[in-house]
Symmetry: C2
Subunit: 210 residues, 2 copies
DNA sequence: TAGATTGTTAATCGATTAACAATC
DNA sequence: TAGATTGTTAATCGATTAACAATC
């Protein structure tokens, strides 16, 4: 299927479809319709249909999509087929949690190693290396993605160092804005943002009760 | 200031402003303009100005906002003044990372305790209790927010149980869609979504290079 | 005063939704 | 065939951006 540009909002919905499709039982019905997907995920069916049409042309009237093909189409579109090697900086609790989580492989992400100022040994099978080795490791393995899980006050300097190592995409878990050049993408995993949405919901709930 | 309804996109930007404002040095200039904020965060200045106007009326031409008042106005708008008590279910690495992270207090969140099927003692100062105590604890403390950090296959049943305990807002870290009634809000901390954005950026980068 | 900044009103842009024709 | 589903075209909706008047 020809590659199309998709908006960021579509891009964010695709992995949601993907993870649901993967969670379906192997021995169930081999076909799934946009309607069924929409209902299962509580979304609008026109939206789902349009999203799917963007990444796959396997949809057939009255039948829907062949589940396995759809999974393959979305995976390929998102680039999950060719896995991305990444490194992580900051092996605290959060860093170790991400390092130990096995689920990222399914999304094409392979964390090769972690770096820390104090590389204490842990239970994870992945190596935790001293910060001094960062440059050499990134160069040698042509790392393009870095994950930042250091405290906020060190995040910017770690970020600068990663960019100097040739990294092009940064997944930032530190609660601080990072300044980067135009060609570098920072994806801020913004817990504060989520909290704001939750907090607002509770405020409204409580007020309504009065 | 009169309370206004804000869209979700505005709501998500407010904590970003807030955390930047808080990070500014105490002894710096006491005023900040929407323009300065926009430049520091790489956003459009009209957008920032409009967002600020929504939550504060302390803006003065030529001067900007008094930093401390602006922090107060945003905090109050987001409901961070009256802290929310929450509990967490699933004391694995991720759960412990969240439990141990001290930064949530600044966002009005107070995690009282964690629950786990196997409540091994940990270094955190917060108690980790057995799942059997969940209902009693939630009722006794009138908990309204629950944080789910259990493996995906248990997430839905934990979610159902939390709702039965009277919880109205759920922060879900399990990589799976949760079905809930209309009046319950689920905020899905969707790592897969972030990965998709990063992955797509790298794909485009690599392709452009060829 | 002049200039920087605010806040508001109007225009643009993009995404979602609705309506409908096509297909198996 | 009838009906479910697809994909497309048009309409609506909402958010962002641009233009401008007001203010210190």
């Amino acid at each position: 299927m020809e590659r199309k540009d998709v908006s960021k909002s579509v891009l964010k919905r695709l992995p949601v479809y993907l993870s649901y499709l993967r969670s379906l039982p192997e021995n169930g019905t081999p076909y799934i319709s946009a309607t069924a997907l929409a209902n299962a995920l509580g979304m609008g069916e026109v939206q789902v249909r349009k999203d799917l049409a963007l990444v796959s042309d396997g949809g057939r009237p009255k039948i829907g999509y062949f589940r396995e093909s759809l999974i393959e189409d979305i995976s390929q579109f998102l680039g999950y087929d060719n896995t991305t090697d990444a490194i992580l900086v900051g092996a605290g609790k959060l860093g170790q949690a991400l390092l130990g989580y096995g689920g990222f492989e399914a999304y094409g992400l392979n964390i090769l190693a972690a770096f820390d100022v104090n590389p204490a040994p842990t239970e994870t099978r992945k190596p935790i290396l001293p910060m001094e080795d960062l440059e050499a490791f990134c160069r040698a393995n042509q790392i393009l993605m870095g994950i930042i899980t250091v405290p906020a006050q060190y995040a910017q300097q770690v970020c600068d160092r990663l960019i100097a190592c040739g990294i092009k995409a940064i997944w930032n878990f530190a609660p601080i804005h990072l300044d980067v050049p135009d060609n570098i993408l920072v994806q801020h995993e913004n817990m504060a943002t989520s909290l704001a949405v939750l907090s607002m919901h509770l405020q409204v709930q409580i007020k309504d009760k009065k």
